[in-house]
């Protein structure tokens, strides 16, 4: 981390910094050399930090008014909406904030997929990111249970029952998770506890994520290693701060649109009906951000294998740095990968669509094909592509294509970058 030495100017600053080098850390963060060609897809890290802080702050406030009890939870949420000063605003920010968080994280993940940001030497950053993503899904699911509406209750029932697919111990685990023989008050109170805990775990992992990032430095759209600091880099402050800030403002406009103009469009009307253990809603669907995985779950006709497929679909991402055998990072120089990338994007969108539809007829068929393709992409296409693909010449530095026109063979590094 210590790319450079830093000495505070004031005497007190020096005294303090010798005992706790916070000023050295601050100096590292502001001077942190960043590739100068980062585009707007790189602003989502900052946007995600904003989302996390928003969820923590609004969540703390909601917890001051919410009552985690099966008999009172639903009414306490209505109490927040009707009686608490600005309660409606805070709850709508928190509820839509979850969706905005996932929107940003999906863009962030697909940016990494396009520019190969998960490849050596950034595997640990990537894996920490996948863990954060898993925790985000857990937090979102637990939070969705708290209002104790019909979707809360039945979503909790369906998701906890996934564990019953485990042979032998499954039923015992489900009873243990519930603290009873069905989803009930003990389940609600522990879900609230865990929902409160997870954001702070995520916060800790975000620190590790950024720490691991600052060791090799940012990847960039060209995907080449750069010297830092050099003419290929700019200091984080003010260049990246102002760019991230502008992107954040744009993002907040979208966020505010949902909060103020259509706060319930991403939710389900059924969740404004209090939980009833005797009646299952006619059509149970998870929140939009979990739909692709839900489609994978339902596309497998066997219970255990369905659960295995769904979990594998997420965990396979952790193995991505080793499944992608190509040494070239950026899809800009990988003409074939670029096409498969967009097919994958379409595939995930299709999975999301059929996940919201009833699991029958044509929808089921499409879900099965899309599920098969999802795994094919990671397990077959990516490993083979690294050996077969003829990549384009990669420039030597970020500055070169700017000063010398588009990349050409003369600028290409060595033969080692080419694969036949």
């Amino acid at each position: 981390m210590s790319d450079h030495e830093y000495t505070p100017k004031s005497k007190f600053g020096k005294w303090f910094n010798d005992r706790l080098p916070l000023l050295t850390l601050a100096s590292h963060l502001t001077d942190y050399p960043t590739p100068k060609n980062l585009n707007y897809w790189w602003t989502f890290g900052g946007i995600l930090t904003f989302c996390l802080i928003t969820q923590i702050v609004t969540g703390l406030v909601l917890a001051m008014h919410y009552i985690a009890h099966a008999d009172m939870a639903f009414d306490s949420v209505e109490h927040i909406m009707r009686n608490v000063n600005y309660g409606w605003l805070i709850r709508y920010i928190h509820a839509n904030g979850a969706s905005m968080f996932f929107l940003a994280v999906y863009i962030h993940i697909f940016r990494s997929l396009f520019y190969g940001s998960y490849k050596s030497p950034r595997e640990i950053i990537w894996i920490i990111g996948i863990i954060i993503y898993l925790l985000m899904m857990a937090a979102a699911f637990l939070g969705y249970v708290l209002p104790w509406g019909q979707m809360s209750f039945w979503g909790a029932t369906v998701i906890t029952n996934l564990f019953s697919a485990i042979p032998l111990v499954g039923e015992g685990i489900v009873t243990w998770l519930w603290g009873g023989y069905s989803v009930d008050n003990p389940t609600l109170t522990r879900f609230f506890t865990l929902h409160y805990l997870i954001p702070f775990l995520i916060l800790g992992l975000v620190v590790l994520h950024i720490w691991a990032l600052h060791v090799p430095g940012n990847n960039n759209p060209v995907g080449i290693d750069i010297k830092k600091p050099s003419k290929d880099t700019v200091p984080f402050h003010p260049y990246i701060v102002i760019k991230d800030g502008f992107a954040l403002l744009m993002f907040m406009i979208v966020f505010a649109f949902f909060v103020f103009y259509t706060p319930n469009i991403l939710g389900h009307a059924d969740n404004y009906i209090e939980a009833n253990p005797l009646v299952t809603p006619a059509h149970i669907v998870p929140e939009w951000y979990l739909l692709p995985f839900y489609a994978i779950l339902r596309s497998v006709p066997d219970k255990l294998l369905g659960v295995v497929a769904m979990l594998s679909a997420i965990l396979i991402l952790a193995a991505l740095p080793w499944l992608d055998t190509s040494k070239i990072r950026s899809a800009v120089f990988r003409p074939l990968y670029r096409q498969f990338y967009w097919i994958l994007v379409a595939d995930v969108l299709i999975l999301g669509y059929v996940g919201a539809m009833p699991a029958e007829g044509l929808y089921l068929l499409v879900a099965r094909v899309a599920t098969a393709y999802y795994f094919l992409h990671f397990l077959v296409v990516l490993p083979i592509l690294g050996y077969k693909e003829k990549t384009l010449p990669v420039p030597l530095s970020i500055t070169e294509p700017v000063l010398g026109g588009s990349p050409n063979l003369a600028m290409a590094k060595n033969k080692e970058n080419f694969k036949d």
């Binding site: 009873t175 998770l177 005797l278 149970i284 029958e360």
Partner: protein, 169 residues
Amino acid sequence: MSEKKVKRRDFLFTATYAVGAVGAAAVVWPMIDQMNPDASVKALASTEVDISSMNPGKTITVLWRGKPVFIRRRTQEEIAEAKAVKLEDLKHPEKDEDRAKDPEWLVMLGVCTHLGCVPLDQKGDYNGWFCPCHGSHYDTSGRIRKGPAPTNMEIPEYKFVNTNTIKIG
């Protein structure tokens, strides 16, 4: 490398680790077990239901241990249909006689064995139950016939206390 001789100190280390592990487990277990059903939840283990007013073709749903239990007084056609099914046609082969002690009365947990939704009465391809969540079809004996559910709907422990009362649990 020559073979190492086991010394007195090695024994002490191993013994210390073993005692430490047992101690850690003894501390961790209460933290895990506190999440299991507590005494007040277990105390609600049985329910008595009055069935005197039920005519054939009627189903009632009662809550037992937080879960719905279907009690259906089946019609003669439904009983005949359930008995006519060949065991080799079933995903989870169970005879109707083994599921309904008194063929007129079917008492079962109204919980889909796929992921725990409550199936709808008299729906689906087999005139029994249909789960709206992921499309499992059950027959008039509550046996799985089509869809992702792995097993038949569960039969809880129950007995006829007298002709008008069923005790579940």
